[in-house]
Point group: C2
Chain length 450, copies 2
């Protein structure tokens, strides 16, 4: 069973490291899964972690290194020699190996590759190093099981036995022709059920969903999710089988994408986590704070035109936060809904006019309710009819315009290839603040005959 | 290869339905995967979709129904008789069958179950109906392959051949003892490599990660992701093997959770999509708009105490949007970072004081930079020293306090079992507006000696 890592256990490990009690460390970690040991290492410092890694069997160490967070791993591996890194790389799946090599300096990378012992793995790694990291080719591993169209079941089973040593999980057996072009698949189940002397070409399934190596990782995610695949073969432009991508890597990509969207929507420009350095967190947050600040100063500049009005009628100023907050809330809600549509896999053919009509109807409904409430409450508390009309009329227009802005901005960004989530955060808020104030003060100026 | 569904094709299908051209529909859909046909159905109305479903083989129809979005499916199935639903349910995996049955009225559900022909499936369904939908038991399917500890490899292969007919994907073969308690696993690979007369107990792997049926679906996601599992066995409190959860269902849960968080963070209270009804979208958005509105009116009420100050010094009012916007942006950024930590699987033992110290350091750094910039720019444009000091000093305090609020609120909510994402949206913004204004006007009142 999986273990619950307790704070007590981490402290015991730290003490054991201090007194060099290797027996305790090895004895207790023997019962743990590598993923659990990784959790423990996150709580230790780099020297302590290195001490534990040196004790553990290389197979376990290789899995831990594959698991580690990219930035923690990069700094951790700087305490390793090229020989040590090579020993772990030799035991990893080619996709994980390449990820780690890509994080090293050119010199370390070359040294490590020269030190690798497994020739097949070295060839796979050299091949994979050619692909961009965020395309299908960059996600795939070379480890897979393939059989030839013209083989008999008996030969397949033998070949699977041979190939299976390097492949952790089989999933599907891919069928290729003599030129290595992917022509179909055959499940282990079918091979088990078939007679030994049957030909692959008589039992294989020619329906196989594959993806070209140059496709973006986002496409890999949507295809695998749409067709419920646990692995997808990657082919080159001629249809030759290059490798395969497994669902566990795709789950990681999904997680990263969700986090990235959330961060973009909340005005954070880099992929930061709580345990990053103060400087890095601060830097990731400053750009949007500065943009928001410039927006605020522009708003001040704009409201400055109405400074005399405010002196005469200070009550008008009191409702500024109501106007800007409502505009911001409506804008963010609208962009959230459209971003969800834009990022979903469903093809949406609905035409533009129809969509806008719907956005407008929802906006009208909400604008009516909110401004009626505000009119009633303002009049109730202040008994000023003109003021109540000014505030509620401005609010009505703000809700409508903020809905349109919030819907259109992500669509425009998406059209120009920018991640629409960028628009949902401070950008919409800042733009809507200015828009809302312009409407509010124009309405006030007009209705008060100032 | 997977198909690209074009608008033209959807129109051709619509015309074919209108002129009852079954040959065209069946002929072209024969080349499509069920998931692609689902995409086409999303573009048709319910009557057209029903017409296509009636034409398609029941196996394909069953897959399409499993794929459909929950709310679309519920309304779509109301046009089906219980007989028709039962025909599809008979061909589905038990987990999908139960999901659909749970969406029906009690009467339809009872009718459909009575009409099922596959006895083994009926028993599985009746069993699964006992579990809550959002726990491990509610996610699992009964279809899996298990072998007894005391069997020989030969017997296993035979049993796999028998069981495999009902199981789409094998993944792992589970090993149970005579009381059906899960004791380990054995891969198909190992069985293939082993001699026919070996005993399971001599070749199986006793290390198997399982999950108890009452665990929350969020725990299922984190365990499967942490250990990179493509399937996880579900056991009861005695350790008996009940079913298994496959990665494709977990990917769907992840997607739903990410969407839910995003919607909560953007002030949308129900799970809505762009194609939901105007009324439903509007209703999902109103609660936060009303709360934001109340916040705005409270702000107006509060600023009312300073109405005389504003009349005397209208310039103070100009910077209200800057103060509220900055407070909002800082608050959302802070909560975004802490929510990410709270929702990640890593165990975080870092102590509270350390974490707060870091939040404060980042806040101090950003507050210094932003308020220095604002001081400089305000003085540059307006040449009023007191005003520049008031605005930048208030902004400094707002950044610090909004950081603390944005960090603490999600932590408190999480402690009380509320989804912390609720806090990141309009809640933080509204609270920070009020907080920011209180600080700003107090500082102004103080420094101007009003």
């Amino acid at each position: 069973m999986q273990a619950e890592i307790t704070r007590e256990y981490v402290e015991q490990v730290e003490e054991a490291i201090a007194r060099r009690d290797d027996a305790f460390i090895l004895g207790t970690m023997d019962d743990l899964y590598p993923a659990d040991i990784t959790t423990v290492l996150y709580e230790l410092d780099e020297q302590e972690s290195k001490y534990v890694m040196d004790l553990l069997p290389a197979e376990v160490g290789a899995q831990i290194l594959s698991d580690l967070d990219y930035d923690i791993r990069t700094s951790f591996l700087q305490t390793f020699t090229s020989q040590e890194i090579a020993r772990y790389i030799d035991l990893m799946d080619s996709d994980d190996a390449v990820d780690i090599l890509n994080e090293q300096s050119v010199q370390t990378r070359e040294e490590v590759i020269a030190l690798l012992e497994n020739e097949e793995k070295t060839a796979a790694i050299l091949d994979l190093l050619h692909y961009e990291e965020d395309c299908a080719g960059g996600l795939m591993a070379k480890e897979l099981i393939k059989v030839n169209l013209n083989w008999r079941v008996r030969q397949c089973i033998e070949e699977i036995r041979r190939q299976a040593e390097n492949v952790q999980r089989i999933y599907t057996v891919y069928v290729v022709d003599n030129r290595d072009v992917l022509v179909g698949r055959v499940s282990v189940k079918t091979l088990l059920l078939a007679k030994d002397d049957k030909l692959v070409k008589d039992i294989y399934n020619p329906d196989v969903i594959s993806i070209a190596s140059f496709r973006d990782e986002g496409e890999v995610v949507s295809v695998m999710q749409k067709y419920d695949l646990e692995a997808i073969p990657v082919v080159n432009i001629q249809g030759r089988l290059l490798g395969r991508i497994t669902i566990d890597d795709v789950v990681d990509v999904m997680q990263e994408q969700a986090e990235l969207s959330r961060q973009l929507m909340t005005g954070i420009t880099e992929n930061v986590e709580e345990d990053d350095s103060v400087f890095r967190i601060s830097r990731s947050r400053l750009p949007w704070l500065v943009i928001g600040m410039i927006g605020g100063l522009l708003a001040a500049q704009f409201m400055g035109f109405f400074e005399d009005d405010i002196a005469l009628l200070p009550a008008v100023a009191l409702f500024v936060p109501l106007i800007t907050a409502t505009g911001g809330n409506v804008g963010i809600q609208s962009s959230s809904i459209i971003i969800q549509t834009l990022s979903s896999n469903e093809v949406v053919f609905e035409n533009f006019a129809e969509r806008m009509l719907k956005v407008l109807t929802v906006a009208l409904l909400n604008a009516l309710i909110i401004s009626a409430l505000v009119f009633g409450l303002t009049y109730l508390f202040r008994h000023e009819l003109t003021l109540s009309i000014v505030v509620s009329a401005a609010l009505f227009s703000v809700v409508i315009l903020a809905s349109l802005m919030g819907t259109l901005t992500p669509m425009v960004l998406d059209r120009f290839g920018v991640n629409p989530a960028v628009a949902a955060g401070p950008f919409i808020t800042t733009a809507n603040d200015l828009l809302g104030l312009a409407i509010y003060f124009s309405v006030a100026h007009l209705l008060y005959n100032l």
